[in-house]
């Protein structure tokens, strides 16, 4: 969409997320730092009386979470005010949108072990007070316990063969019972010789063994190839069978 064109912003089905409707639709989030883009994304300004509000366009080709939302995922479990542990923050592209979504009353703990990506992420976190940047290996969650509190949701996009285990130990440390997880799985990162479907099924089994109960799975076509997102719940409270 060209600079200067008009759009109508509407709430999306997912809390904290919006759609900008014009000649084309775009997924957008409410910019916590009006006037600034994080990675060159487009912005939309709204004048509401005196206060200026700004939204940032969220590109599904650059963010798996956005791809999942446009793909119709049922739940992302990160409404405004919630606390999210984000594993594999990279340079903070998606993290910045999660920061917009959970808003000033929420928190994003963003873990990334590469110092190079981490530097960009630190710059994003400087302007966004609800991001707590953690430059550590997510395989050793005890190393960042001083910075952490319990969270409502764990999001993981570390693209590692042992991702299920990484999520499990982080959940054991920091995810509240009945909390949720959202994991992006890149099939060839786990096993480039097997069929993607078989890889996804294998990962789901691993999660189940760790009391991470998958509730939903979807592929990210047409935005990513051989990628799936799995959403589920951690140690759900036992159902009362007596009733």
């Amino acid at each position: 969409m060209k600079g200067g064109s008009n759009v109508v912003i509407e709430p999306h089905r997912h809390p904290g997320v919006f759609i900008a409707r014009g000649k084309e639709d775009a997924l957008v989030t409410l910019n916590m730092v009006p006037g600034e883009a994080v990675y060159g994304e487009k912005r939309i300004s709204v004048e509401e009386g005196e206060n200026k509000i700004e939204y940032r366009v969220w590109n599904p080709f650059r963010s798996k979470l956005a791809a999942a939302i446009l793909g119709g995922v049922d739940q992302i479990h990160m409404p405004p005010g919630s606390k999210v542990l984000y594993l594999g923050a990279a340079s903070g592209t998606t993290v910045s949108h999660v920061s917009d979504i959970v808003g000033p009353e929420g928190l994003v703990y963003a873990v990334e072990f590469s110092h190079r990506s981490g530097r960009d992420m630190l710059n994003v976190a400087k302007k966004r007070t609800n991001i707590i940047p953690i430059i550590e290996d997510a395989r050793h969650p005890h190393k960042y316990r001083m910075l952490m509190g319990m969270v409502d949701t764990v999001f993981a996009d570390v693209a590692q063969p042992d991702q299920a285990r990484i999520v499990a130990i982080n959940a054991q440390h920091y995810l509240k019972n009945g909390g949720h997880f959202v994991i992006s799985i890149k099939a060839n990162c786990i096993d480039s010789t097997a069929q993607p479907e078989a890889v996804f099924a294998g990962e789901v089994k691993k999660l189940q063994a760790e009391r991470l109960k998958p509730q939903e799975q979807l592929t990210l076509e047409p935005y990513e190839r051989d990628h799936a997102v799995v959403v589920g719940v951690y140690r759900p409270p036992a159902k009362n069978k007596g009733e």
Binding site: M1, K2, G3, G4, S5, N6, V7, V8, I9, E10, P11, P15, G16, F18, A20, R21, G22, K23, E24, L30, A37, G40, K42, R43, I44, S45, V46, E48, I53, E54, Y55, P79, P80, G81, G103
Partner: protein, 189 residues
């Protein structure tokens, strides 16, 4: 020292406003003042100020009203934008947009009716944009409808479609007309 100052002296740490009023019973000046007030002599006995009570209730109603006029905290209290003619037309155009651009294919129309909560915004020019990624000054309008009217390609396409429809209409009608004529002839025979 007068009696009054005696009453408020700090040697006597217990102050009873009610009593003090009774002592002043002979003095009408206070009563005169109080006559016009909604506060009566029992005011000091009340647990709560009835006026404040009323305003609390009012506040609650006001809050509820505000709540209803926004989408709530899950969408950062997005307001209920006032529906104007222009906005309504824009929303209608968005609703029909599949037919507006032959080169653009939309997924199934997921827009149902007019939205209750929405905001009207504009894409911001970014300094890193190429000029082709911006609308020219002439193309900049305050509504989506006006933008379309200023779009030469769109107007051309629209005219063409309109003409096609007109021709089709005439043709189908001509056919029907001839058929009717033939029928009439047959009936006469």
């Amino acid at each position: 020292m007068s009696k009054d100052s005696d009453l408020f002296s700090l040697n006597n740490t217990y102050l009873d406003m009610h009593k003090s009023y009774q002592r002043n019973k002979n003095d009408n000046s206070v009563q005169e003042i109080m006559k016009k007030s909604i506060l009566n002599t029992d005011y000091g006995m009340l647990e709560r100020d009835p006026e404040c009570e009323a305003s609390l209730k009012q506040q609650k109603i006001q809050k509820l009203k505000e709540k209803k006029s926004t989408k709530g905290p899950d969408w950062f209290n997005m307001k209920n934008t006032k529906m104007t003619k222009e906005v309504q037309n824009d929303l209608r155009v968005l609703h029909m947009r599949q037919v507006l651009d032959p080169k653009h294919f939309y997924k199934k129309n997921d827009i149902k009716g007019l939205p209750k909560y929405f905001q009207v915004g504009k894409y911001v020019d970014s300094p890193t944009d190429f000029y082709s990624a911006r609308l020219t000054k002439k193309e900049r309008k305050s509504t989506i409808v006006e933008e379309l009217m200023a779009d030469a390609d769109f107007m051309k396409y629209n005219k063409k479609k309109h003409k096609e429809r007109k021709i089709k209409h005439i043709k189908t009608h001509a056919k029907a007309h001839q058929k009717a004529k033939r029928l009439k002839k047959k009936n006469k025979k």
